[in-house]
């Protein structure tokens, strides 16, 4: 079961990528940034915000597609991060590679390892979009870069140098703090909406031995034992699968 989920989670983003890049039976159209499945179109909410702000207006064409993703996040949390995002596996695999050891970096790392930096980063991206008049994050977004280059490679046999942004971002996160949970502005935005999402992992206090394995394996740095940062949860199931006493249950959030 563990292996099945692991393998599934490893392959699903790749399968989705291939399905979108080579539209089979023309069921999907577009890249992941604005995706049409049948008659339904969904789009990245960060893209909607950035383009609206950059144009000093409202991009009506993306309003409903972006809202669809927002609603999905309110209900399912950061499921995208766990099962669909192709950048997740890459950023996580190289996370915690400490590139430098210096007091400045250590200090920066400490500073960047809390939620406030993530919020500041998201606000900076939005402010930059307004002031510089283009969607700044779309330029370096690893999801966008991976999908654009995959489409370019599949259809036209060429790739772009923007792929090198990804190792740059890995370098950044390796020195400072994990990408998915602490840097990614899209993740930050989704976290805002997933705060009250109803399906969360809960610790069964009777079985728990406080071994902290769940916190160690969690890619999204959810501190399960104290019940904080649950909005980051990407439903990857690792904590419940790894718990030695099977003390973690997936249940509806208890009514406050």
């Amino acid at each position: 079961m563990k292996r099945l989920v692991r393998v599934g989670r490893g392959f699903l983003p790749v399968l989705i990528l291939l399905f979108i890049v080579y539209p089979v039976l023309e069921l999907t159209y577009g890249s992941i940034c604005v995706l049409t499945v049948g008659t339904i179109t969904v789009s990245c909410p960060l893209g909607f915000l950035q383009t609206s702000l950059a144009s000093h207006g409202l991009i009506l064409g993306l309003l409903i597609p972006a809202s669809a993703i927002v609603v999905a996040t309110i209900l399912l949390g950061r499921l995208f991060c766990g099962w669909i995002c192709p950048a997740g596996p890459i950023m996580q695999r190289f996370g915690n590679v400490h590139m430098f050891r210096s007091p400045v970096i250590t200090r920066l790392r400490a500073v960047s390892s809390d939620d406030k930096t993530r919020a500041v980063l998201l606000l900076s991206v939005l402010a930059a979009s307004v002031l510089l008049r283009y969607p700044v994050f779309c330029l370096v977004c690893p999801v966008g870069i991976i999908y654009r280059n995959a489409i370019s490679l599949a259809r036209y046999g060429s790739i772009g140098i923007d792929l090198l942004f990804i190792p740059m971002l890995i370098f950044l996160e390796g020195s400072l703090t994990p990408w998915c949970s602490h840097i990614c502005p899209l993740g930050a935005l989704l976290s805002i909406f997933s705060r009250k999402n109803p399906i969360v992992p809960a610790v069964n206090k009777a079985r728990c031995t406080s071994c902290s394995i769940c916190e160690k394996v969690c890619k999204m740095k959810v501190t399960l034992l104290s019940g904080r940062n649950l909005e980051n949860c990407s439903k990857c199931l690792d904590c419940s699968l790894q718990c030695p006493t099977k003390a973690i249950e997936w249940k509806k959030r208890a009514q406050a």
Partner: protein
């Protein structure tokens, strides 16, 4: 607000802005030729969400993704590349309706009437042109869908009228000279 937070805010902001503002000024490419009906350049870069749907739908594959060499701000946005094809909005598969405009979700590309379509205009380098060097070639004249955009000097050499030319790129694509004698520029383009 604690001083620490303020410094953090300032630091992150500074890094973000320098990366996304200075670098585009340093890495700035030539003006790109955009799909027909595109918004004015500043608005285009602001509104285009780099979803590449137009690149996928274009029947001639003339719409390409701009690379880093085309500019930092422009990276990932669509551009017209006559090395790959030509725009058939005036004549051909998109004559009824521009497919790129149809699929653009943000309105970076708008569907305009055929009469108002002008992507740019073509410029000739007579030194590279087979006809101007004496050979029997008038491929550009043959394939041009707009009468008057190309006229003949001495019934054998092409002359380009940048006012009538709509910048579809057919001539630039078909030009058999190596290297090509024709370049599509954004001069005279009509944006929305």
């Amino acid at each position: 607000m604690k001083r620490r937070d303020f410094l953090r805010l300032f630091g992150v902001g500074l890094v973000t802005f320098s990366f996304f503002d200075i670098l585009p000024r340093v890495f700035r490419g030539r003006p790109l030729v955009r799909p027909p009906g595109s918004r004015v350049e500043d608005l285009f870069n602001a509104v285009c969400v780099r979803c590449v749907r137009c690149v996928q739908i274009c029947p001639t594959s003339v719409i390409a993704m701009a690379t880093l060499g085309d500019g930092f701000k422009e990276l990932g946005t669509p551009k017209i590349d006559p090395a790959r094809g030509s725009c058939e909005r005036i004549h051909g598969r998109c004559a009824e309706q521009a497919r790129c405009a149809q699929v653009c979700p943000t309105g970076a590309i708008l569907d305009v009437q055929k009469e108002n379509v002008k992507l740019g205009s073509t410029v000739i380098n007579t030194g590279k042109c087979i006809a101007w060097q004496g050979g029997p070639c008038l491929t550009c004249y043959e394939v041009c869908p707009v009468i008057g955009a190309i006229t003949l000097f001495d019934e054998s050499r092409p002359l380009f009228n940048e006012n009538i030319c709509v910048g579809c790129g057919r001539c630039a694509y078909a030009c058999p000279a190596e290297p090509k004698a024709l370049t599509l520029t954004s001069k005279g383009e009509r944006r929305t």
